[in-house]
C-alpha cells in the first residue's frame, strides 16, 4: 500500500468534491453492475435475445417491466442491464488490447531512441494522422459485424495514443539515475524496461486508459448504432438504441433507457477524468507532495 501513497492522496482529494465523488460512485457502480448483471437480470432469456413474446410487444414501463418491453416483447430493463456487461467487456477489451500494442511500442521507442525509436514513432504518427472515429468505422466495416471485430477495430484506432503518451514518459524516466543504477547492476534492457521503466512511466498512461473506457463505450455504441458494430440480438447499448429508433414516437422507452445508460456511464467516466486530470496538474501535484511532507 505504501507504494501507492500518491494515489491514495489523490483519491482523498477526489472524495472531497461532490461532483467528483458522484462520478467516482457512477464508475464504481457501473463496474459492479457490469460484473453481476448476468446473475441478477430478471428476464435472462429476454436479455440474451432468445425470446419472441408477441403478446408483450411495446408495453410501456410498469412494475413487471420497469423499462417496458420492445418490438419483440423482450424486457428492456433486462437487456439494458446485460448491456452493461457487454459495455464493460468492450471497454476492457478495447483499452486492454490498445495497451498491449501501444505500451511496448512506446517503451521500446523511448528507451532505445535512435533509429528504432524514430521508425516506431513514425508508424505511430501515421496512425494518429487518421481521424480516430473514421478509422474505427472503416476497420469495423471491413472486418464485419461482431463483438470481437468491434473490439479489434477500436483497439487498432486507439493504440497510437498510448504509444505516444508512453514514449514521452519513457523519455523522462530513462534519464533517471536509478536506470543507470539498474544498468550498472547488469540488468538486461528487457528487464530494465519491465521492472523500472514501466512501473515509473506508466501511471499517467494507466490513469488515462482507465478513463478512456468511457469513450470506448461511447464509440462502440456509436459504431453499433450505425450498424458496423455488434450483431443482433446482442444487447449492446448502441444497438439497443438503434433498435428502438424506429419506434421512438410511440414506444420512447425502448431507445430512451439504453441511451440514458450510455449518457450516465460516459459522463461519469468523463467527470472522473476531469477530476483526475486536475490532480495531475503540476500545481496540485505540488500541493499533494506538500501535504505528504515532501520537501519542495
Amino acid at each position: 500500500m505504501k507504494r501507492f501513497r500518491e494515489q491514495r492522496v489523490i483519491l482523498s482529494l477526489i472524495a472531497k468534491k461532490p461532483i467528483s465523488l458522484v462520478s467516482l460512485i457512477i464508475v464504481v457502480s457501473f463496474i459492479i453492475i457490469g460484473v453481476s448483471a448476468p446473475l441478477i437480470v430478471p428476464y435472462p432469456e429476454d436479455a440474451w435475445g432468445l425470446t419472441y413474446n408477441v403478446e408483450k410487444r411495446f408495453l410501456p414501463p410498469s412494475i413487471q417491466h420497469i423499462f417496458g418491453t420492445d418490438a419483440l416483447g423482450r424486457d428492456v430493463f433486462s437487456r439494458v442491464l446485460l448491456g452493461s456487461s457487454f459495455s464493460l467487456i468492450i471497454a476492457v477489451g478495447v483499452i486492454g488490447l490498445a495497451l498491449i500494442i501501444g505500451v511496448p511500442v512506446g517503451v521500446v521507442a523511448g528507451y532505445y531512441g535512435g533509429r528504432i525509436g524514430m521508425i516506431l514513432m513514425r508508424i505511430t504518427d501515421m496512425f494518429l494522422a487518421f481521424p480516430p472515429l473514421l478509422l474505427a468505422i472503416v476497420l469495423a466495416a471491413t472486418l464485419g459485424r461482431g463483438l470481437l471485430n468491434l473490439i479489434v477495430a477500436l483497439a487498432i484506432s486507439w493504440w497510437p495514443w498510448y504509444s505516444r503518451l508512453v514514449y514521452v514518459q519513457t523519455n523522462t524516466v530513462k534519464n533517471m539515475p536509478y536506470i543507470d543504477s539498474a544498468k550498472i547492476a547488469g540488468l538486461p534492457s528487457f528487464k530494465i524496461m519491465t521492472k523500472h521503466v514501466i512501473p515509473n512511466a506508466l501511471t499517467p498512461t494507466f490513469v488515462q486508459a482507465a478513463l478512456d473506457m468511457g469513450s470506448a463505450i461511447l464509440e462502440a455504441a456509436g459504431l453499433s448504432f450505425i450498424g458496423v458494430g455488434v450483431k443482433p440480438p446482442t444487447p449492446e447499448w448502441g444497438l439497443l438504441v438503434s433498435e428502438g429508433w424506429q419506434s421512438i414516437n410511440y414506444a420512447w422507452w425502448i431507445a430512451f433507457f439504453p441511451g440514458l445508460a450510455i449518457l450516465v456511464t460516459v459522463v461519469g467516466f468523463n467527470l472522473l477524468a476531469d477530476a483526475l486530470r486536475e490532480s495531475a496538474d503540476p500545481r496540485i501535484r505540488r500541493t499533494i507532495l506538500m501535504r505528504l511532507g515532501v520537501k519542495q
Partner: protein, 324 residues
C-alpha cells in the same frame, strides 16, 4: 549602530500541515538584523532556516501556518497586514536554483524590466533599461547589453546567479534574503559570488539574511551567525566568536565534523543520530537525544536562549546552570 533594528523577528512559530498531522518547523524564534549587517542563519536540513526566510519574504507555501509571533520590518509588523504589499516592503529574496526562478520563455532583460517597473513605479522604457544595465554592471556581469537580450538557457549557472542577484538589487531593497545561493555552484564559482556579495555589502550598505548549511561560507560572509537546529535557535554570536569559541554542543559538533584540507584526519568526527522528527518535537532541549553532554534537566526543561557573554547567546543548560 542604529538603536532600532531594521528587522525584528519576535517569537515566531510556523507549522506545516501535512497528511497525518503537522510539522512544527519553527518554534519561538527571535532575532534581529540591523542596517548594513549580514546575519547568517546556519542549519542543516529540517532546521527551519528556509522557512524563516520564506516567512520574512512573504513566500510561504500554502500549507504553512504562522502560529504566533511578529516580523517587524522598519517598524511595521509584516504579519499584520491583511493584504501585505510585498512591493513596498522592499525585501528581496534570492533562491538556490537560478534556473528555476527565471521563466525560460522570457529574456532576462524582460524579467528585470518587469521587476523594476512594478516595484519602482517607473514607466519610461529608457530609464528602466538604464537601471537594469546598471544592476548588471553592479554584479560584475561582462557585456551587460548582450546579457539583457539573452534567455536563461543561454547563460551559464554563474551568470544566472549574478543575474538573479542583479534583479533583486535593482529595486534598491533595504534587505536581501539569500537562501543557499551558492549551494548548487562549484567551489570556485561560489568563491566568486561570495566575493561579489561582500563587495556589494560594502558598497550598498546592504542588510542581508544569508541562509546556509555551510559554516565556512557563514564565516566568510556574515557579521553574525545564528545557529538553528530542529526549528529552534540554539546559539547566536559574532562570526569570529562563534567559530573560535563555540558554546553549544551542536555547534561544536558541527565545527568538528567539517573535513579540513590542511590536516589529514584519521577518522572524521560526526554527530551520531539523526535530525529530529518535528511532528512531535522533544519536550526538553531539542538536541538532547544526540548530545554527548546531556544532563537529566535537558530532557525535561527546554533551555531558553540567554546571553552568556557579550553578544554571545546560547540555549543550553550547561551555561544556564553556571549563571546561578
Amino acid at each position: 549602530m542604529n538603536s532600532q533594528p531594521l528587522l525584528q523577528v519576535e517569537d515566531l512559530s510556523i507549522d506545516y500541515i501535512i497528511v497525518g498531522g503537522s510539522i512544527k518547523a519553527v518554534r519561538n524564534v527571535s532575532f534581529n538584523i540591523h542596517e548594513g549587517e549580514v546575519v547568517c542563519l546556519v542549519g542543516e536540513s529540517g532546521s527551519g532556516k528556509s522557512t524563516i526566510g520564506l516567512a520574512i519574504a512573504g513566500a510561504l507555501p500554502e500549507n504553512a501556518i504562522i502560529r504566533s509571533g511578529k516580523i517587524i520590518f522598519k517598524g511595521k509588523n509584516l504579519l499584520n497586514e491583511k493584504s501585505r504589499n510585498k512591493k513596498t516592503d522592499n525585501i528581496m529574496i534570492v533562491f538556490q536554483d537560478p534556473a528555476a526562478t527565471l521563466n525560460p520563455l522570457f529574456t532576462v532583460g524582460e524579467v528585470i524590466s518587469d521587476v523594476i517597473r512594478s516595484h519602482l513605479q517607473i514607466r519610461d522604457k529608457g530609464k528602466i533599461r538604464e537601471k537594469a544595465l546598471e544592476a548588471f554592471r553592479m554584479v560584475e556581469l561582462p557585456d551587460p547589453e548582450r546579457i539583457f537580450n539573452s534567455y536563461p538557457h543561454e547563460l551559464s549557472g554563474g551568470m544566472l546567479q549574478r543575474v538573479v542577484i542583479a534583479i533583486s538589487l535593482s529595486t534598491n531593497p533595504k534587505m536581501l534574503i539569500a537562501d543557499e545561493p551558492t549551494t548548487m555552484l562549484d567551489v570556485t564559482l561560489q568563491a566568486q559570488i561570495l566575493d561579489l556579495l561582500l563587495n556589494l555589502k560594502k558598497k550598498l550598505r546592504l542588510s542581508m539574511l544569508f541562509i546556509t548549511h555551510n559554516l565556512g561560507v557563514a564565516r566568510e560572509v556574515g557579521d553574525r551567525i545564528i545557529v538553528i537546529y530542529g526549528g529552534e535557535i540554539i546559539e547566536e554570536a559574532g562570526s569570529s566568536d562563534l567559530i573560535n569559541d563555540p558554546l553549544h554542543p551542536y555547534t561544536k559538533g558541527l565545527l568538528e565534523c567539517i573535513p579540513r584540507t590542511h590536516i589529514r584526519h584519521s577518522r572524521l568526527k560526526h554527530i551520531p543520530g539523526a535530525v529530529p522528527d518535528l511532528k512531535n518535537p522533544l519536550k526538553g532541549c531539542i538536541f538532547s537525544d544526540r548530545c554527548s553532554e546531556v544532563m537529566d534537566v535537558c530532557r525535561v526543561v527546554k533551555p531558553l536562549l540567554k546571553e552568556y557573554s557579550r553578544n554571545h547567546k546560547v540555549a543550553c543548560h550547561l551555561y544556564l546552570e553556571g549563571k546561578e
